[in-house]
């Protein structure tokens, strides 16, 4: 029999078997196992055996076929004691082939459906800005439903108690030992940089970044130092008004 299957690629051993059955025009329920096995083996021998995974799948089926073939060649068993027909060694393979064939057929139907469905266009969401920008109003009544004045009072007391607990009872009495939060050198550098970047500024401008009383005082010392060095001029219109600083080192 002519073998022109070499060029064809099969999805797997079942695919190849179905092809051989189709090509030989034989009944899937009565596979001429000797014939088909020979053809199958011929194909496998001709296969590119570089892909071991694929190869092993085809070889596994080959052993199944050879097993069936040998069982078919054995003399037919008599009817079993219960009078049942002995099972056809090909039965399991036939079931597998039928099931596979069924899904193969279905997959062609699905392909057609996909083609039809691809004629339809969908679109990305286009949610209007008005909708995207919408902020849900706060429902105070709902938000405050569980809160009472007494509860608020309790919470505040707890907060204060916790603040109290955080304070070390012994150390807190030392009082005067405090870590130097800001170094004069660092603040000096920062203030000079600020003066280089600004022509005129107020003392309050400088204090916006200040986090503590210490830092405010250090900043003030810096200003005095810079005035002494002639880097800045300061003016104050009245007592307690803002001190205006004119930089002489501005770029």
């Amino acid at each position: 029999m002519e073998m022109n299957v070499k060029l064809q690629v099969f999805e797997g051993p079942l695919d190849l078997l179905l092809h051989l059955i189709d090509k030989n025009k034989v009944d899937i329920y009565d596979i001429p196992i000797v014939e088909i096995t020979d053809q199958y083996m011929e194909y496998v021998r001709a296969m590119d055996n570089s892909d071991l995974d694929v190869m092993s799948e085809f070889l596994l089926m080959a052993t199944t076929l050879l097993d069936i073939k040998s069982r078919m060649l054995l003399p037919q068993e008599e009817k079993t004691e219960e009078g049942e027909e002995p099972e056809d060694p090909r039965a399991e393979l036939v079931q597998q082939l039928l099931e596979y064939k069924m899904y193969k057929t279905i997959s062609y139907q699905l392909r057609d459906r996909q083609l039809d469905a691809s004629l339809v266009f969908y679109k990305e969401p286009t949610i209007p800005d008005e909708v995207l920008k919408y902020q849900q109003p706060v429902d105070l009544e709902e938000l405050m439903a569980d809160l009472t004045l007494n509860k608020l009072n309790d919470i505040f007391q707890q907060v204060l108690k916790r603040q109290d607990n955080r304070r070390d009872p012994i150390r807190s009495t030392f009082g005067k030992i405090k870590k130097e939060e800001v170094s004069l050198e660092q603040k000096m550098e920062w203030t000079i940089a600020f003066a280089k970047a600004h022509n005129t500024f107020s003392f309050r401008n400088l204090l916006e970044a200040a986090h503590s009383k210490t830092e405010v005082i250090v900043t003030f010392l810096c200003i005095l130092e810079m005035m002494k060095a002639g880097q800045i001029n300061i003016t104050q219109e009245d007592t307690f008004t803002d001190i205006m600083i004119e930089s002489r080192i501005a770029a």
């Binding site: 999805e11 079942l14 997959s107 699905l110 949610i127």
Partner: protein
Amino acid sequence: MELKEIENIVEGILFAMGGTVEASKIAKALEIEEKQVVEAINSLKESYAADNRGITITEIDGAYQMCTNPEIYEYLIRIAKQPRKYVLTDVLLETLSIIAYKQPITKSEIEKIRGVSCDFAVSKLVEFGLCAELGRLDAPGRPMLFGTTEEFLRSFGVSSIEELPELSQTQIEEFKIEAENEANNVEVTI
């Protein structure tokens, strides 16, 4: 709220949202019954069809999505580029069919039917968004179970798994008859 008014609101919502929207969600937003929403959508669909309009509404797993009428594809493709998301080879299609009909299913069950390994095919289908992991089977090794997604239904133009071409015992019988006929027609080939 009158049917016509519901129709108009539903139209605007489906247009703006782009994706699928559940009828129940619309019903809640409009403070009406879900069946009123479904009625409005069906009425809308009919009026689109009656006038052979350029848009239509499709149902996917109980949710609704606005889309174009397939009849205008020819003109549309000249302007819009249909994003070709994936090409399904025979292997992928076969694997997808098995998953679609037997979901939830494990890889080893798929392999048993196809007779070959399916790791690559399944991970491709997951990558394309056509299949997804559904959870683990409570069995030794706790294998992963796979099933199809909403995107699968959309790409294949079906509104639910039940709508897939039937796969029943009768169909298997048909295959049998087909096979027998084939055999009878040729008889002498061995």
